[in-house]
Subunit: 221 residues, 2 copies
């Protein structure tokens, strides 16, 4: 990318990660070291040359390293983008109220959203395990000691299971829709969904979100 040539932290930061696809590539690497092929799968729509180019640029900037096993990984500095992306995801969360439409979706993207919504220590948070199932790929949220983690796969006896379209699952987790509406959206709920309130997601900025789209798209909440 052409540099902004401004002596400003934001401008210089954007010189590093402001290129198209770059922050989404970081999003993928936040889940751990990944191969080129995995990154392609997690970035539907990117051209192969662009992925290679972005990886080289981030490597030159010190955000990414290529490890001996061929995987790409974030450097410690690159890991620092987690907080940035989580903060940004919370700001952008209202945009998720517009349903998927033709947009691509990958179940592991839920991990970032769960991270953004629950990335804090809350002593009043209840211990709870919640299994999420979108597109038949299970993930499990484990709340313990005030913290929330999410892992791939299932655990034996989850307190709640949410299965169905991602907008419904997300709406329930964020506390933006109720059980009935989620069921309308096609979400299957096993267990007591009211326990989800004890996960206590970070409040999204009360100062609303974007104005409703002019088209007849139906919002979530």
């Amino acid at each position: 990318m052409r540099s902004y040539r401004q002596y400003c932290a934001l401008a210089r930061g954007l010189d590093v990660v402001g290129d198209r696809w770059t922050l989404l590539l970081v999003r993928e690497l936040l889940e751990g070291p990944r191969r080129y092929r995995d990154l392609l799968d997690g970035l539907p729509g990117i051209a192969t040359n662009l992925l290679a180019e972005r990886l080289r640029g981030l490597e030159a900037s010190g955000v990414v390293v290529r490890r001996d096993d061929g995987r790409y990984a974030l450097t410690p500095w690159g890991q620092g983008l987690r907080e940035v992306l989580y903060t940004f995801a919370r700001w952008a969360a209202p945009l998720m109220a517009v349903p998927l439409g033709d947009d691509a979706f990958r179940p592991h993207w839920l991990h970032n959203l769960v991270g953004a919504l629950f990335d804090d220590v809350d002593p009043e948070r209840a211990n709870l395990t919640v299994e999420l199932r979108c597109e038949d790929e299970p993930s499990t949220i484990i709340a313990a000691a005030g913290r929330v983690r999410i892992t791939h796969g299932s655990v034996p006896d989850p307190d709640v299971v949410l299965a169905g379209p991602p907008n419904g699952v997300i709406g329930l987790l964020a506390g933006r829709i109720d059980e009935a509406f989620a069921t309308d959206l096609g979400v299957t709920i096993i267990g007591d969904a009211r326990q989800l309130t004890h996960l206590r997601p970070r409040p999204l900025p009360e100062t609303g979100g974007p104005p409703p789209r002019p088209t007849g798209t139906r919002s979530l909440g």
Copy 2:
């Protein structure tokens, strides 16, 4: 911008503010409503058509409103980007260790950096006023009740005055360089610079920053 078409908060957020110049435009509007001409001055290098186009786009997205007096302002949702940009600026702060070179600089950009470094409530923070002078344009940091604000202009009796090149002033504020080095860089210090430690800036991620540039550019600390 072409949409990423991904059902992901980050991707949808980038659809709104991922275009080139967009976040820097938001940076300018974080200081308050601004006229078209002010924005041009604060965004050296932007083309006039791009500024107009970005403003229209952000207006359509609900991030910016054009007020009756012709000024552009952030909506409440747009104001929510402050936390995002501050978090990002802290991540990118190590990049400021590389001196200005030919980069453009505007004194009011310091306000964002001060905001990013001190945007918290710290009960152990001392009350203090610090005047900053870069390019003969004074700003004043006022720490009181554990909070830090920065305003344009001077106040009668600041505890400390820092005047000189922005990299030196910033290095002192962030606690990354000492008085002697700052003086070397051309900073004039009036008052007791040791009081600056009582401002207690947010710690930057200890996990370093980018690797040193291969060229012989001299770092700040």
